[in-house]
Symmetry: C2
Subunit: 215 residues, 2 copies
């Protein structure tokens, strides 16, 4: 069974998954990297940067669920680049020559362009599609493995609202961003379709998982 | 030192402390009692209702911090009664003849009325005052003990925005209310003034405490 999964998706305590003022120099706007420090502090985060050390507890265990069994990712246009990236034909994402996805990645955008093959197994495809259509395309590319719904918050919200997410890992970071893009708007009663678990970490963050009944 | 404290203040995962449609038959609107089930399930909650049993773990330990060292409470008009209560001269709150406060309670309202002495030590005072003025009055009544900022969300937010809260105990309940009154609006960066701890409970809720440096 191929699941649609959200992994390592960070929110502030007041529900913002990204700050205000996203731009080339600030992919998360005024939030900076504060929503993701918990991840960079783990052994997994250190390995991604080629560094030794890092924490080995619950944050590391959750962070490492990012890649296993994932065969494709779906992301929104706002995750792929800063506002206006579609006007730059040389833009290939924020992540350099070897992005951390290592699978096909479907970028949801109204501005289609040819696919881009990167190093390390990542290929970016650009499609203008509904959540269900995008998931069908990503599932086919995933070849029986799971599909990661990679964000940003608007895309995760759209997939949740469409009932398409099977498993979701949210990380609540104890900061108040005050402004930005919220995840939860319009999702009243979402918990009824899921088993929800919350586990706080000594680092200060709380991991919240939503697992759909029967998956 | 007399602290201003928030205790047992429940929020949904999407940040609402009360639902939409507050009225006589539904003090928390469409939220019903879902934000407070964790509290009623504790031994302390059972004791309040004169019943045996209840859970004895972390939820009970936090819940029991409601009363000790508290010498007065401040609450908003929306906590004291449903919309329009000030037009009913016989309204004495939701809690019956012996309310669970057992101290002076200062109700912030633009519609002043004579104080009401209840059974069990609770006296309701009705004042039209700023947060700082109300806290000064409650501190005097508390006679050296702490003052509980009792809610609703608008009042807690006003006291937080004015920098008047020394300790806060928030309980995040894993439900999505979707609508109602939010606590966190306009409090960007609040965490900088506090040590913040999050502790999840086997019941599913997460206790988040804010403790101001030096108190």
């Amino acid at each position: 069974m191929s699941l649609a999964r959200v992994q390592n998706f960070s929110l502030s305590l007041d529900g913002f998954a990204t700050g205000e003022g996203q731009r080339l120099e600030a992919p998360f706007g005024h939030a900076g990297e504060r929503l993701h420090e918990w991840m960079f502090a783990t052994r997994w985060g250190h390995e991604m940067l080629g560094q030794p050390g890092g924490t080995g507890g619950i944050d590391d265990a959750f962070a490492r669920m990012f890649a296993p069994r994932i065969g494709a990712e779906i992301m929104g246009a706002g995750k792929f680049g800063p506002p206006g990236w579609h006007e730059d034909p040389t833009w290939k994402g924020w992540w350099g020559a070897n992005p951390p996805f290592h699978t096909p990645v479907f970028v949801l955008t109204h501005h289609s362009r040819p696919s881009i093959v990167m190093e390390g197994g990542t290929t970016f495809h650009f499609i203008d599609a509904s959540p269900a259509e995008a998931l069908a395309a990503a599932r086919e590319a995933a070849d029986g493995q799971d599909v990661r719904i990679g964000g940003g918050p608007t895309i995760v919200r759209d997939f949740l609202a469409a009932g398409l997410v099977d498993h979701m890992h949210i990380v609540v970071v104890p900061i108040l961003l005050g402004r930005g893009v919220r995840l939860w708007d319009g999702l009243e009663g979402l918990e009824k379709d899921y088993a929800v678990e919350a586990t706080s970490s000594p680092s200060g963050v709380t991991h919240v998982t939503f697992t759909r009944a029967g998956v």
